[in-house]
């Protein structure tokens, strides 16, 4: 067992973990932050996406010990301080960018990271960026629309609700 200390959603956390414990298991099993999901075993689906030191990371591809000293942010830490949905979360609700909700935390984390690097992405850039996040419910239409809306762009010309 190795002691690991990191900041998660603004709070310092220390635990003893086994060396092979994945960051996603650490979040889900040790800290009960179950908003980060596991949808595959090949790092393809993106349901486990979190931020480590501001960068979007698939938490199934990283050991917990590798996050020693890091600032980790999960979906549970995304809402505004008053508990209301933040801009990206609100855009997903406003534009019906989620159905079953399982891929949603990863989508929100991934989309947030995109806008940090590219505040006004084109539709094509959004679609390209989401290559590592799979959704089976929405056909992506409303996810792409929500992300464009969250970036402050006018999406009223994009068809339908």
């Amino acid at each position: 067992m190795t002691k690991v200390t990191m900041t998660i959603n603004g709070k310092s956390v220390s635990r003893d973990v086994e060396g092979q414990t994945l960051l996603v298991s650490f979040l889900r099993d040790d800290l009960h932050l179950t908003g980060t999901h596991v949808g595959c075993d090949t790092s393809q689906c993106g349901a486990c996406t979190v931020h480590v030191d501001g960068k979007s990371v698939k938490s199934c591809t990283m050991f917990a010990v590798e996050a020693e000293g890091a600032e980790v942010k999960t979906i549970e830490g995304m809402a505004n301080a008053d508990g209301s949905l933040n801009v990206m979360q609100q855009a997903f609700q406003d534009h019906h960018g989620l159905q079953c909700g399982y891929c949603t935390p990863g989508m929100v984390m991934s989309a947030t990271a995109l806008l940090k690097d590219n505040p006004k992405p084109t539709e094509a850039e959004v679609r390209k960026h989401l290559e590592g996040n799979i959704c089976r419910c929405t056909g992506y239409h409303n996810i792409v629309k929500a992300i464009l809306a969250a970036s402050g762009q006018d999406v009223s010309a994009i068809a339908a609700e």
Binding site: Q44, L85, C100, Y102, L130, R136, G139, Y140, E161
Partner: protein, 789 residues
């Protein structure tokens, strides 16, 4: 003006808030004190005789609490098929037992033959690997036509690989044959409806606990229909009395059909929880999901269309080989028959239809209903052969369809495939589609594409499907072993808020938002005071769950009926309170008033009175305000649509890009346009995925070559376009109280032929006489077709 609340409004989904905050509660998120882990040992060969299994090493390993093999379940029942199909000769279908764990033989890669229960996941995995199994491997049975030759059987005890040989409508067979023989023109097409893997993003997960004091079990599981799962476990598999088993499906991360069925893992964790005396959880990994979730489609079909000289359809005849996999999943026999053959008249006045379906066992994962379930197969066969026919006759594909459409004045219409369509207007849908898709602008867009060195194709499709499955009396006649009604309980609490317990289950469909819209509209109260309860058999009435686009049409109708009962009783109470005749009480905007007077009481006051009946005339009015309704519809609902798309094909690589897609659907009345549009989007994503990307591929040894997201091409965001969706042309369903039709599967039903038709059109535009390419239309397949044309 769009409404803000009630029926026809698009309030934002209330369930979204918890999902967006990571506060959804899926089965694997639930941690129970003392929880143990189940891991399965699964066959790595497709077909083989189990000579021996030695679990002794595994049993002695650290943390191991129990090891199960097939021998532990020989006394319990098999997982049954829910639908009895009789062959053309009257013989009932073959129903080999589907055991909890393989015993005697393994029948597909991934078939579980043992399970380990241990303290931790790692210990359980290590122990599962230490189980020694000796298998005498047999040749794998993979190809459906080859499977019907020789004497190598998936199930030796039935002595054949044919489950059934079904004819529909058998009485029309001779006349159909005659019509085809004598027709002016016959178009023939052989095609494959590619096998798909549902891939709900949440893998299956089941957790059981057992309380010895009451001999009671609780099963949390990823199910679309917890009551049906409980019934199957209780009545057929484990024999646990229904009143000793609670099944809870909490938040479920997508289903698409794959979570309708009862699976052996659910039975195993129940048995294990009792044996080890602690909760037992199994969580599928994605590879297990690929290997063991029920797959979809997998039909090999020959279809013929007979026409006269003017293009009037005279007959459709199809012969289909349907792969059902190694075991019959719960609805496996209904999907290729009554959910497929009965739709083979499509949107058309064709007088004769004959469908032959041979269901075949193979050494592959079970195949069952996947989004659309039989109707995508029907729509694909019909709309592909019609497109080929139009080309052969030199007719415009839209004009040929319109010529044969059922006309609005012909409803109710008895189709040649045995269904009675209640409503529709296919020409209006086609008109709208031509408008919203700017079909007139296609020629200019094609010219532009060609100037860019690309081929552009236009594809069109009309579909009608049968959903809201469906009337118990009808499905009973057709072989269903269950009823297909649904149920709702409306409980008005004393303080005036409502809990509505429903048999439907939401795993993305938005029931928590949509059902309250209906109740709020009926009662004239704020939807925010109404909560939906679903997914827990200890709380909800016996309903059949969510699949086949049935939630609103069937369960929503039960909600309406239960709410009507609430209104009737509330009027009695209001009449008593207002000292008026019951018949004079009117309900408007949440107020009960005496007609023609200013006397009224609010809904909240009536609710409170119902629970404080100090002065009730108890012989006339019982205390309380809670009503249950079971709703069994008179018929399926028949959504229909006109779809079109434009694709660009790169002539150098065969790569297809979907540039535009328009879906115009008739869903009858629409309760929440935002949710309905979202359902269409999702179906389109899956249908376009089927057409261009997805394929479950077994090699000749029965190894699934597409068993991960590295190998199975799931649609990504950059594979798909923005869609144009319209549902303004609704013709209300005539037999349910809301006038609604199912919307959940339409996109997946209508889109595959649209895409393939467009790609063929693109290739034809370059002078290549390509008439068909089997899905998925990968660059390699398209490029090869162009090269070989």
């Amino acid at each position: 003006m769009p409404k803000d609340t009630g029926i026809g409004a698009s309030p934002l989904r209330r369930e979204d808030v918890r999902f967006l905050k990571g506060a959804g509660e899926y089965t694997d998120d639930i941690k129970t004190y003392g929880e143990t882990v189940a891991v399965f040992a699964r066959s790595t060969v497709a077909n083989g005789i189990i000579k021996s299994i030695d679990t002794s090493v595994a049993e002695g390993m650290p943390g191991v609490l129990a090891v199960f093999t097939g021998a532990d379940f020989v006394e319990v029942g098999g997982n049954p098929a829910g639908w009895l199909i009789n062959s053309r000769d009257g013989e009932p279908m073959k129903e080999p037992k589907r055991p909890v764990l393989a015993h005697g033989k393994v029948r597909h890669v991934g078939d579980a033959y043992a399970a380990v229960i241990a303290e931790t996941d790692r210990q359980a995995r290590d122990a599962a690997e230490a189980i020694e199994i000796d298998i005498e491997e047999l040749p794998a049975i993979i190809d459906v036509k080859e499977a019907l030759k020789g004497d190598n059987f998936v199930h030796d005890e039935i002595g054949t690989n044919q489950c059934f040989d079904w004819g529909w409508i058998e009485d029309n067979r001779a006349a159909t044959d005659e019509a085809i023989k004598n027709a002016h023109h016959v178009t023939t097409l052989e095609l494959v409806n590619n096998r798909l893997i549902p891939n709900a993003m949440e893998p299956r997960c089941s957790m059981a606990s057992y309380k010895a004091s009451g001999d009671e079990y609780v099963l949390h599981t990823t199910s679309q229909n917890p009551h049906l799962t409980r019934l199957l476990i209780s009545a057929f598999v484990m024999g646990i009395p229904e009143n000793k088993l609670t099944v809870i499906a909490p938040d479920v991360g997508g289903g698409f059909g794959s979570k309708i069925y009862h699976y052996g893992e659910e039975a195993l964790v129940l048995a294990a929880a009792k044996r080890v005396g602690r909760p037992v959880k199994w969580t599928s990994d994605r590879t297990e999901a690929f290997l063991t979730d029920a797959h979809g489609r997998d039909h090999v079909t020959k279809i013929e269309l007979a026409t006269d000289a003017e293009g009037n359809f005279q007959a459709f005849r199809t012969e289909t080989y349907a792969n059902v996999g190694a075991y019959l999943s719960n609805f496996a026999t209904a999907t290729p028959t009554f959910l497929h053959g009965t739709l083979m008249a499509g949107n058309y006045t064709v007088p004769l239809v004959y469908v032959n379906v041979k269901a075949v066992f193979t050494n592959t994962a079970p195949v069952d209903a996947y989004r659309g379930a039989g109707r995508p197969e029907a729509s694909y066969s019909l709309e592909r052969v019609i497109d080929k026919c139009a080309r052969e006759l030199g007719m415009d594909p839209i004009a040929l369809r319109r010529k044969n459409f059922i006309k609005p004045e012909q409803y109710p219409f008895a189709s040649a495939a045995g269904l009675e369509y209640d409503s529709g207007n296919y020409d209006a849908l086609m008109d709208k589609m031509e408008e919203v898709a700017d079909v007139k602008g296609f020629a200019a867009r094609r010219a532009q594409s060609e100037a860019n060195g690309m081929l552009r194709g236009f594809g069109v499709n009309a579909y009608v499907e049968a959903c809201g499955i469906a009337p118990s009396n009808l499905v009973g006649v057709l072989g269903s072993r269950v009823g297909l009604y649904d149920a709702a309980t409306v409980r008005v609490n004393a303080t005036g808020n409502l809990s509505v317990m429903v048999g439907a289950h939401s795993h993305g469909q938005g029931h928590e938002t949509v059902f309250p819209q209906v109740v709020a509209e009926m009662l004239g109260i704020d939807a925010a005071s109404i909560d939906i309860v679903h997914g827990d058999t200890s709380k909800i009435p016996f309903g059949m769950g969510t699949y086949g686009s049935r939630s609103l049409a069937v369960c929503g109708s039960a909600v309406v009926r239960a709410t009507e009962k609430i209104i009737n009783k509330a009027k009695k109470i209001a009449a008593h309170m207002l000292e008026a005749a019951e018949g004079d009480i009117e309900l408007k905007d949440g107020q009960f008033s005496v007609a023609g007077t200013d006397k009224s009481v609010s809904f909240g006051e009536v609710a409170l009175k119902a629970y404080i009946p100090h002065d009730f005339p108890l012989e006339d009015i019982e205390p309380g305000l809670e009503e249950t309704a079971f709703y069994d519809p008179a018929n399926f609902t028949f959504p229909s649509g006109a779809y079109c798309c434009e694709v660009e094909v790169d002539p150098d690589t065969g790569k297809v890009r979907v540039d535009r897609f328009a879906a115009v659907d008739d869903f009858g009345n629409v309760i929440n346009p935002m949710v309905v549009t979202g359902q269409v989007h999702g179906g389109l994503g899956q249908g376009i995925g089927q057409a261009l990307l997805e394929a479950a591929r077994y090699n000749s040894d029965g190894q699934l070559e597409s068993a991960s997201y590295m190998d199975y091409a799931m649609p990504r965001a950059d594979d798909l376009p923005f869609y144009t969706v319209d549902h303004s042309q609704g013709t209300p369903c005539t037999h349910n109280p809301l006038g609604v039709k199912g919307c959940g599967e339409a996109g997946a039903i209508g889109s595959p032929p649209t895409i393939v038709n467009a790609v063929i059109d693109a290739l034809q535009s370059s002078g290549k006489n390509v008439t068909h390419i089997d899905m998925p239309l990968t660059p390699h397949r398209v490029w090869s077709a162009m090269k070989n044309a």
